[in-house]
């Protein structure tokens, strides 16, 4: 298992160094832009522009860039396993399927922890720069999105194994799943919003917009749901993600055990 972990490490080394360098440059820019907002020219731009710049910096930097790099590194490793015919060689090694998949999940978990730590460090720096107070929802969001990436990587790996390295077929099926989820959720949310407004007697105006008071009521409604989840059901998120992780792990082991016909 340790050997496979080393292999993952060596494969991701170059990409990780490149990713960290990119991250450092982006982070430096983040600090510089914030300083410019405070003391320089950017602060002189229209307030709406400054607010947009600030929210992009504040949320994009701590929440997404490191995660994008993390997902890229791990996906790259899976791709290398296929292009190098390593998967065929792995069958000749004295390792069980559980050990092979387990090692890559473990490495993935190490990546997740590293990214979470980086995200928290950046978040605390952002707090210091903005003079904000610690919002424990960010704890939930940073770890939740990271864990979601972990699970998505598990799903990617699973499909690569199911299609025995047929990357284009695996990519097509995954795209269909993600697009199905994206449009399905979008459609579901749209229907939910329409139902919410109609059930409360709101009507679309001449320009097909809902009245502002309807939007305000909906925002309150969502905030209430978020509060309920945050206070009472927060534990369900890690449970769902862990369950998905365990399911994908088990299915991946089964897919690897299923020999080529």
């Amino acid at each position: 298992m340790k050997g496979i972990m080393f292999k993952e490490f060596f494969l991701s080394k170059k990409f990780t160094v490149f990713g960290l360098a990119t991250y450092l440059i982006a982070f430096t820019m983040f600090v510089l832009v914030k300083l410019s907002i405070l003391y320089g020219n950017i602060g002189k731009l229209p307030p709406k522009t400054v607010a947009t710049a600030e929210s992009v910096l504040y949320y994009v930097m701590p929440l997404s860039l490191a995660l994008v790099l993390y997902v890229s590194v791990m996906t790259n490793n899976t791709k290398h396993d296929i292009t190098s015919k390593w998967n065929r060689y792995a069958y000749t090694l004295p390792l069980s399927e559980k050990q092979i998949i387990g090692a890559s999940y473990l490495y993935n978990a190490v990546g997740f922890c590293a990214v979470t730590i980086i995200n928290f460090i950046v978040y605390f720096i952002a707090l210091a720069l903005y003079g904000d107070k610690f919002d424990y929802r960010m704890l939930f969001i940073i770890m939740g999105i990271g864990a979601l990436c972990f699970v998505v990587l598990g799903l990617n790996k699973l499909f690569m194994l199911i299609f025995k390295g047929n990357t284009s077929r695996s990519r097509t099926v995954l795209c269909c799943i993600y697009m199905g989820l994206y449009f399905g959720i979008g459609l579901g949310v749209g229907q939910y919003i329409t139902h919410f407004f109609e059930s409360r007697g709101y009507e679309l105006d001449d320009q097909d917009n809902w009245p502002p008071e309807a939007s305000a009521e909906f925002e309150k409604h969502i905030a209430k749901i978020v509060e309920t989840v945050k206070d009472n059901l927060w534990w369900s998120v890690p449970i769902i993600l862990i369950t998905l992780g365990v399911i994908f792990f088990t299915l991946s082991v089964k897919a690897l055990k299923r020999r080529e016909n």
Binding site: G3, F6, K7, L11, R88, Y89, Y91, T92, R259
Partner: protein, 292 residues
């Protein structure tokens, strides 16, 4: 591990694909020997090897390695097996030093000293990425890795194909060194029969998924021969004695599989020794019986 006479025992191995069937394959690789596994491209050599390595699931048949079931005792067996493929299975982004670290943590018996010794012997750089290696270097690297964990059985799938004669000879010498230990065995698939003629103790011929011949190389070479005669003389030969015959403008060359009996039966006829390549060629054309 219990005592065993054959490193590999295959009985009734069958694997069906659309348009190809590996049909009821049975042969043994005796312990301490090197077996050449011969057949033209698409004959079923890689399918057989992949089945032995449990990369492919067979439809029926049994495979015992070191006297153990190749599926039930897979992990135990694989500690003592090394596989060499026609293509480098290691990531091209890695270098030999990193590969050493990876495999050291996978094989209990891995020896970095042995591995580095082979790297020096093969003049392979330890810090250069495999992507920059030539085909010969990649093959040498695979062999260095295969020989560095004290494996008792090496299974090679077209390992010498595409290599120049100098590199092939160098590699064949290494295999002979490996066989100095009488516990070591090799199954080597190839369609370069000259290599097998040099080093193999036994040979298995397959064609279109069917086993044609299996046995000790010297016996096979002694049993087979080519009768060179005129077309008229060929017409008088008993066709049951002939595997197939090449008919040319100058006469006929017929492959026989019972040389001693034919020498008595056709006294006065010139019966030349056959090479493994010729035996393969005449067997492949056995259905046509006569070819030019």
């Amino acid at each position: 591990m219990a005592e065993y006479a054959n490193a590999i025992e295959i009985k009734g191995l069958t694997k069906k694909y659309d348009g190809f069937t590996l049909d009821d394959m049975s042969f043994n690789v005796p312990k301490g020997s090197i077996m050449g596994f011969v057949g033209q491209n698409g004959a079923g050599k890689s399918t057989t090897i992949n089945t032995i390595l449990n990369i492919i699931k067979p439809d029926s048949g049994t495979i015992n390695i070191f006297g153990l079931d190749h599926i039930k005792d897979e992990l135990r067996i694989k500690k003592d097996i090394s596989a060499v493929f026609d293509e480098l299975p290691f990531h091209e982004e890695l270098n030999a030093r990193q590969l050493d670290k990876v495999l050291r943590n996978i094989f209990d018996n891995w020896s970095s000293e042995t591995f580095n010794g082979y790297l020096d012997r093969f003049a392979l750089p330890s810090k250069k990425k495999f992507a920059k290696f030539s085909k010969g270097m990649k093959m040498k690297l695979q062999i260095a890795a295969a020989l560095s964990h004290d494996a008792k059985l090496m299974i090679m799938d077209e390992a010498t194909t595409g290599l120049d004669p100098v590199v092939r000879n160098e590699i064949l010498d290494i295999f002979l060194e490996f066989l100095q230990d009488e516990d070591h065995s090799i199954l080597m698939s190839s369609h370069i029969t000259s290599d097998l003629e040099k080093i193999a103790d036994s040979v298995t011929f397959i064609d279109k998924g069917k086993l044609l011949l299996t046995g000790y190389k010297d016996d096979i070479l002694a049993d087979h021969g080519i009768i060179k005669c005129t077309k008229n003389d060929y017409a008088n030969l008993d066709k049951n004695d002939i595997i197939s015959a090449r008919i040319t403008d100058f006469g006929a060359e017929a492959m026989i599989s019972n040389r001693a009996a034919c020498e008595k039966k056709y006294s006065g006829a010139v019966i030349d020794s056959a090479t493994l390549e010729e035996i393969m060629l005449y067997y492949v054309n056995r259905e046509k019986k006569e070819w030019s």
